[in-house]
């Protein structure tokens, strides 16, 4: 079971509390994880990745296991600790005022 922590605004949008738990088929990568997340919560499509290019939105970052994975290739395997559910995958909004 993969664990995902979303920023507050996306939790509100998807009507979820706390962590999201997902089943991801095959190798666990950014792409497969986000595909599974969007399949479960279609309202999140376009909010993390661009609808067309599938690129990460510029003000979001991906962290896991105390590492910044934002610039890793989308098909690169995520750390084993994420794949096993020992550690969560974090979608984080960039720090900015307002």
């Amino acid at each position: 079971m993969i664990r995902v922590i979303l920023p507050q605004h996306l939790r509100t949008l998807a009507h979820v509390d706390g962590e999201v738990q997902l089943d991801v088929e095959g190798q666990v990568t950014q792409r497969s994880l986000l595909d599974a997340l969007e399949a479960r919560y279609p309202v999140l499509r376009g909010t993390i990745r661009d609808h067309v290019t599938q690129e990460r939105r510029p003000f979001l970052r991906f962290f896991a296991c105390e590492q910044d994975l934002s610039h890793e290739p989308p098909d690169a395997p995520l750390p084993d600790a994420v794949a096993t559910g020992a550690k969560p995958f974090l979608v984080v909004g960039a720090i900015a005022g307002g």
């Binding site: 920023p7 507050q8 605004h9 996306l10 949008l13 969007e38 399949a39 919560y41 279609p42 309202v43 999140l44 499509r45 376009g46 909010t47 993390i48 661009d50 609808h51 067309v52 939105r57 003000f59 979001l60 909004g93 960039a94 900015a96 307002g98």
Partner: protein
């Protein structure tokens, strides 16, 4: 007795203000979508319970919200459980999918537009500035977006399709963004000829379609703008807002970057009606609900000083279709006022006497229940107001 529902979009959420027909005592609900920019909310003229909202964020992009109960509850269209998947089991979630149509069948190639420094810049979707529900069908709604284009939904906002003839008009490389971006902010549907739609873009100008959005032409003859190389060019004008009265759709009033303008021939030509205004810079323009030649503007000092001249917040009213303007000040701050009123932040109701409303960047929403003669704040301390619309409800 009829009442009113004022829909207020702010930098940090949506608010709904309600009152009875006297418009003296108000209930304030919200914020909905706290923390998000609500660029615009507007209700269907044929179903007052149906309201569309543009919810945007620099972090998370564009969301479209819909209410079917007058703003009590909201949902992204297409997100109800029975709507979540296609018959093939694929997730939909496309109510926030605004993709320019570049198909060979109905689209136009994606071009570039002029950037602030005069170079060419890619056309990129950023947000929905304005939502304009159909005059006849609550499931049909138009969206004006940045970078400038017009989209239409025929399924209540579940999915959107660009009317690409506008973006593909051919003059796109000459369009440029205003300070707030290159947004399509005005959509006016002719109530007597539904295939005729007027739009306005900052900074491209005004355009009109007479065939339901397939083809468009610029309608900027008579505009004069000193911030473009040719002041009378066919496109490139920074039109801030256009307004019309339902009974006279061929008569249009425009607040341009500078100049208040009027057209008596559906935009084919324009003439200036700034008259005795203290400054003819401003953003909104509105027409009285029952008097087609009574027009309201809110003059702002200049394009680099976005606050009222002399720090006095004054709405100006012309009862003659322009040129002769009177200051409306009763109940409005007449000293130390440095707020702005944005282009989509004024509205009128259809009660008698006509109610007039506007919101400020300082978070005040003012109402007049006597066509502007006197004003009172409904609420003083909202986040900065981006848009105000009003519904007259049974």
């Amino acid at each position: 007795m009829s009442g009113v529902r004022v829909l207020v979009g702010t930098r940090k959420g949506a608010f709904v203000l309600t009152s009875d027909g006297k418009r003296q005592h108000w209930d304030i609900s919200g914020p909905s979508f706290g923390g998000w920019e609500i660029f615009h909310m507007k209700g269907s003229p044929v179903d007052t319970n149906r309201i569309y909202a543009s919810q945007t964020s620099g972090w998370f992009g564009q969301i479209i919200q819909r209410s079917d109960d007058g703003g009590t509850t909201w949902f992204p269209p297409g997100s109800k459980p029975d709507e979540l998947t296609t018959p093939e089991g694929m997730p939909k979630g496309e109510s926030n999918k605004f993709v320019y149509d570049t198909s060979t069948q109905s689209g136009k190639p994606l071009t570039t537009h002029q950037w602030y420094d005069g170079t060419q810049h890619p056309w990129e979707f950023k947000r929905v500035w304005h939502l304009e529900p159909s005059l006849t069908d609550p499931d049909v709604v138009y969206a004006g977006v940045e970078d400038a284009a017009i989209f239409r939904s025929t399924d209540g906002g579940v999915s959107w399709h660009e009317l690409a003839g506008l973006r593909g008009h051919g003059s796109g490389p000459q369009w440029s963004p205003g300070a707030g971006g290159m947004g399509l902010h005005t959509i006016l549907i002719d109530p007597t000829h539904h295939d005729r739609i007027f739009v306005a873009i900052s900074a491209a100008g005004a355009f009109r379609t007479d065939d339901g959005g397939n083809t468009w032409r610029p309608i900027n003859r008579g505009l004069h703008s000193l911030y473009i190389p040719n002041p009378t060019a066919e496109v490139g004008h920074c039109v801030h807002r256009i307004a019309m009265h339902r009974s006279r759709p061929g008569v249009l009033f425009m607040q341009k970057h500078w100049d208040v303008m009027r057209s008596d021939d559906s935009g084919d030509s324009w003439h200036e009606v700034s008259g005795n205004l203290p400054t003819d810079f401003g953003f909104p323009i509105e027409v009285h609900a029952h008097e087609p030649t009574t027009v309201f503007v809110v003059p702002i000092k200049s394009d680099s000083e976005h606050y009222p001249p002399e720090a006095k917040l004054r709405v100006y009213r012309s009862r003659t279709g322009g040129n002769e303007w009177e200051a409306l000040t009763k109940g409005l701050p007449q000293r130390d006022c440095y707020v702005n009123v944005l282009r989509d932040a004024t509205a009128v109701d259809s009660l008698d006497p006509c109610g007039v409303y506007f919101g400020t960047t300082g978070g005040q929403v003012y109402a007049s229940a006597d066509a502007g003669d006197s004003w009172a704040p409904i609420v003083r301390d909202l986040p900065s107001v981006l848009s105000v619309e009003v519904q007259t409800v049974p």
